[in-house]
């Protein structure tokens, strides 16, 4: 078995607002024998800068990739936005020699050079491709039998498929299988692959809130007890914004939204406290009763 050792790229949104994701991911990784080495130092992946300047995005991403190359470790992120940005920069700079030379010209100014020696993965990619379903199932001590879970893949875990190269974006099954590995039942719902809308919240709130409303309605209609996300931004849309959506549209949902590592952690026998479930905006008390 290959060594499950990665450099952990935390990004911005998780330390800013979604600590529960980081806490639960670290706990679950430890149980699975995944070693996270913390970045000695990093900057934003570059995603928010891409609309302003493509080169600005590439340079911020490349600089992080250089740090990882120096550590001789593959990068793992918990945020699919970071994963897809770093993957895109990594792939583009490996393949496009002209662009690489240009970016390396800039990096030289700070004594760095992009060499293209590492890979970038999201936690879900690591769980599916490197850890494997068998090992995850073995780590499940308390199967969540009877719990109905609606998984939300989000976009950047899967798309653009030419860059990500994981699962089938039109009919994604990997996160579903990860949910099933916990003993829970993964329920299908309408428009499962629809975007949460979070990336445009800063320029237009109305559309993302309508997208989130649509998602919550579909999840409720499918009879799910909870939702699962693997992205800090999707999580904010469905968990943090849920009370607001309920007030705005005068509809009650009360659907707990767990980070996938929280769901897996519960199935591993970790306590809700250890998994920082208290941090969730929509209280998961009902599902904790269900799985007792």
């Amino acid at each position: 078995m290959s060594e499950l050792k990665y450099l952990l790229f935390l990004g911005c949104a998780i330390p800013y607002r979604v600590t529960s994701y980081e806490i639960s991911a670290r706990k679950v990784a430890q149980r699975l024998g995944i070693e996270f080495v913390d970045m000695p130092e990093y900057n934003c992946c570059g995603l928010p800068v891409e609309p302003i300047s493509y080169e600005g995005m590439l340079i911020l991403a490349a600089r992080n990739l250089c740090v990882a190359e120096q550590q001789e470790l593959n990068l793992v992120t918990l945020c699919p936005g970071c994963a897809s940005t770093l993957k895109k920069a990594n792939k583009t700079l490996k393949e496009d020699q002209k662009l690489r030379e240009k970016i390396n010209g800039y990096l030289k100014e700070v004594g760095l050079e992009f060499k293209g020696t590492i890979e970038v993965k999201h936690l879900v990619h690591v769980l599916v491709e490197d850890v494997g379903f068998e090992r995850i199932k073995e780590a499940v001590k308390k199967p969540l039998t009877g719990l109905k879970v609606a998984e939300h893949n989000g976009c950047h875990l899967l798309r653009p498929s030419k860059i990500i190269g994981f699962d089938d974006p039109e009919n994604p099954l990997m996160l579903k299988r990860l949910v099933e590995a916990t003993g829970a039942t993964a329920v299908d719902y309408m428009d499962k692959t629809q975007c949460c809308g979070a990336p445009i919240v800063g320029v237009n709130e109305k559309i993302p809130l309508q997208l989130a409303l649509d998602k919550l309605r579909n999840v409720r209609a499918a009879g799910a007890d909870a939702m699962v996300t693997v992205c800090p931004f999707c999580h904010m849309m469905f968990d943090m914004n849920q009370p607001r959506i309920e007030r705005m549209f005068n509809e009650k949902f009360g659907i707990p939204v767990l980070h996938y590592p929280q769901l897996l952690g519960l199935a591993m026998g970790l306590t809700p406290e250890e998994l920082a479930m208290r941090e969730l905006r929509v209280k998961p008390s009902r599902i904790l009763e269900l799985i007792k």
Binding site: A13, P48, I52, L60, R63, R159, V203
Partner: protein
């Protein structure tokens, strides 16, 4: 382009598509044949009256440069990449939208949120300014301290790429 607004020949910049075609990600602008697969599957178009990727690509092909770059709707792409994965012509629609946004930013059209995120990156290395209290709290919760970004390096890189100029231009 608002409904019912006619197009004046004088508005068209026939070279615009060639300008776009030179940019990484926008190379295939001229081969979009307007099938509408992008708009049909677009989650934003579903809830917006103004955001239509097919129309944006057509406007770009026609050369409606200033209408596009000064528009608010180019900023509504959520970069979900559904259209990119589905385009039968393999046009990187999100890449074209990004190119339009980059050109708009150069002309000083930049929604305040991006200026703020970018200025946070230049000041702290991260897109959000994380309050001290929260940094302390993460350690109380048993997490390792968050490393401070090397701001000298970040600043230098934003300068050499000309990116810092775009943030300052247009002013705060």
């Amino acid at each position: 382009m608002a409904e019912g607004t006619g197009i004046q020949i004088s508005e068209l910049d026939p070279k615009f598509k060639y300008e776009l075609r030179k940019v990484h990600g926008a190379e295939k602008i001229t081969i979009c044949f307007q099938c509408g697969t992008c708009t049909a599957g677009c989650p934003i178009a579903r809830f917006s009256d103004v955001y239509r990727p097919r129309r944006i690509l057509r406007m770009a092909q026609l050369g409606l440069r200033s209408r596009l770059l000064s528009s608010e709707f180019i900023w509504l792409c959520a970069s979900c990449f559904t259209c990119v994965d589905r385009c039968p012509q393999d046009v990187d629609i999100a890449g074209i939208l990004r190119t339009l946004k980059n050109l708009a930013a150069e002309e000083g059209y930049l929604p305040p949120v991006y200026r703020e995120l970018a200025s946070n990156i230049m000041k702290t290395g991260l897109a959000y300014r994380i309050p001290e209290l929260r940094l302390k709290r993460r350690e109380q919760m048993g997490l390792p301290p968050l490393p401070k970004a090397n701001l000298e390096v970040v600043r230098r890189l934003t300068e050499v790429t000309g990116f810092s100029r775009l943030i300052q231009a247009g002013g705060e």
